[in-house]
């Protein structure tokens, strides 16, 4: 009886150590990261170069194409201002105007998945 109890204790200890070892092993694995390639693109229209140059520094084009349709021009003006003043995007004045004009002209109508 005593012998059995000792054996059981050893078994439990081994199991516990095994559990810790397994966890440590799993925990040490640095996961590889290979996301799907970025495919969203700005709609080709006058001003798209400025949008590509500045907006894409921080986010993919789908952040724009998924915004609500039918928003007034002030919506896009506010967004460009927010990106510059709040989020710290370094966009020169002339490029900011070109981007705003491009967004108002291009993304007021529904994008219909045009990404």
């Amino acid at each position: 009886m005593r012998g059995l109890a000792s054996s059981l204790l050893v078994l439990v200890a081994v199991a516990a150590a095994g559990g810790v070892a397994a966890r440590e092993t799993v925990g040490k694995t640095a996961p590889a990261y290979a996301p799907p390639p970025e495919t969203s693109k700005f709609v080709a229209a006058p001003g798209v170069e400025a949008a590509q140059r500045y907006c894409l520094t921080c986010h993919s084009a789908d952040y724009v194409s998924t915004q609500p349709p039918h928003m007034p021009a002030a919506f896009w003006q506010n967004e460009v201002t927010k990106m510059r003043n709040a989020y710290g995007a370094t966009i020169p004045d002339d490029a900011a105007k070109a981007i705003t004009d491009y967004l108002v002209a291009t993304y007021t109508e529904p994008t219909r998945g045009g990404r």
Partner: protein, 400 residues
């Protein structure tokens, strides 16, 4: 595809059944609001998910997942990032360090092995919900990530309490707040690093924790590997991923992400008249009470029955769910639902009810009540960032 609010979730759920096949064929799902088309793609450690944005990666859980139990599988758990260079690369649990700095007697610099060996392990079930979950349904609509309703999940988190770390370091009497920073960094010096703050009493309440496991496995990279802050009952913005630093401050956090972003109207409803600005704001905090019907979707045809099963999940900011009521007549009359197993006051609580669904159209509405006495509103509150949405939305089904 522009559909109106009465068609909410219908297109999503109908297509969700085909998600796996859709991913293989490069298909998309259309959320039921303007510009709601979302590609379905498979990211590392994830099943096919709705892609809100590719960079930073923002992935939404297919809604049907929530009908399969109180816990959200790691490979289906939503992903939300702010900065472009995310997730950070080269993270390794074997070499990762967690530091406790600032107004403490003894700064700490710990490995994951130290955390596991030197501090008691705690486990807690808690819902992580994005502050803007459901923003796409806001009326009028607002700028920001146009989320459906899949930016939430419930998991069993295992790790150590922040209190244990702070007690080991010895917080100075002058301490006021704790800042939390992760390994993600902005692309440019002009962009604010993603840092969040909690009051020092909140941080050491014994529930705020640092998780190294999620549902019994190491955290997926996209959910914060190898360490993530868990702030039970609080919106996901506080749940800093890839955690590297706790800094005890003698004043409140001055982080952009506390002082300028993630702020709500400073009133009881955290709401303002639609289309107006808030005169005063405060940082977002606890989760609003909320429930969802998970086994029936809007626009669906159901089998006519004198006793039709309707089920779903409910949660709140940590008082616990006291009850869920179901209406099959658009909110005129209500039937109490049965609550499922209690996994703790921060967890999803499953619920189910039987209602008669005679031939014809029915407006199903689920409404949860928290133990704190809060009840979901029947009309949506509005705020400029569409945070904290929790309206009891009707789900239209046709019984045949």
């Amino acid at each position: 595809m522009a559909t109106n609010l009465s068609d909410r979730r219908s297109v999503l759920t109908g297509a969700a059944a085909l998600l796996a096949a859709g991913a293989a064929r490069g298909q998309a799902v259309t959320l039921p609001f303007g510009n709601g088309e979302r590609p379905i793609k498979t990211y590392p450690e994830k099943r096919p998910m709705l892609v809100l944005t590719e960079r930073p990666p923002q992935l939404e859980t297919p809604f049907e997942v929530f009908d399969h139990g109180a816990f959200t599988p790691n490979d289906a758990f939503f992903v939300r990032y702010h900065l472009a260079g995310t997730p950070p690369r080269g993270l390794d649990a074997a070499t990762h360090r967690l530091k406790v700095l600032g107004a403490v007697e003894t700064p700490l610099d710990l490995s994951l092995a130290d955390l596991r060996r030197d501090f008691p392990a705690v486990e807690l079930a808690a819902v992580n919900e994005c502050s803007g979950n459901g923003r796409g349904f806001s009326s009028p609509r607002v700028a920001g990530g146009q989320l459906g309703e899949g930016m939430m999940g419930n998991a069993l988190w295992r790790g150590v309490t922040v209190r244990a770390l702070l007690d080991r370091a010895g917080v100075k009497a002058s301490a006021h707040a704790v800042e939390f920073n992760g390994a993600d960094r902005p692309q440019m010096a002009s962009v604010a690093d993603f840092v969040k703050g909690l009051g020092v009493d909140h941080a050491r309440n014994g529930e705020v924790m640092i998780a190294y496991e999620m549902n019994g496995a190491p955290l997926p990279l996209l959910n914060g590997y190898p360490l993530r802050l868990i702030v039970p009952g609080y919106y996901g913005t506080y749940w800093v991923k890839h955690l590297t630093d706790l800094t005890v401050l003698e004043q409140e956090s001055q982080s952009y992400w506390m002082q300028k972003a993630y702020r709500i109207p400073d009133n009881d409803c955290a709401c303002v008249p639609a289309g107006t600005a808030a005169s005063a704001t405060r940082p977002i905090g606890k989760l609003n009470v909320r429930s969802f019907i998970t086994n029936l979707s809007d626009g669906q045809t159901a089998k006519a029955s004198a006793r039709a099963l309707v089920r779903g999940v409910a949660f709140d900011g940590g008082s616990g769910i006291s009850g869920v009521e179901l209406s099959s007549d658009g909110g005129k009359t209500w039937t109490p639902a049965s609550l499922g197993q209690d996994h703790g006051k921060y967890s999803f609580r499953e619920w189910s009810a039987h209602v008669p669904l005679e031939h014809g159209e029915h407006l199903l509405v689920a409404r949860a009540k928290s133990k704190a006495g809060d009840v979901q509103p029947l009309t949506a509150n509005w705020n400029p960032s569409a945070y904290m949405r929790n309206v009891a939305d009707p789900v239209r089904v046709v019984a045949a």
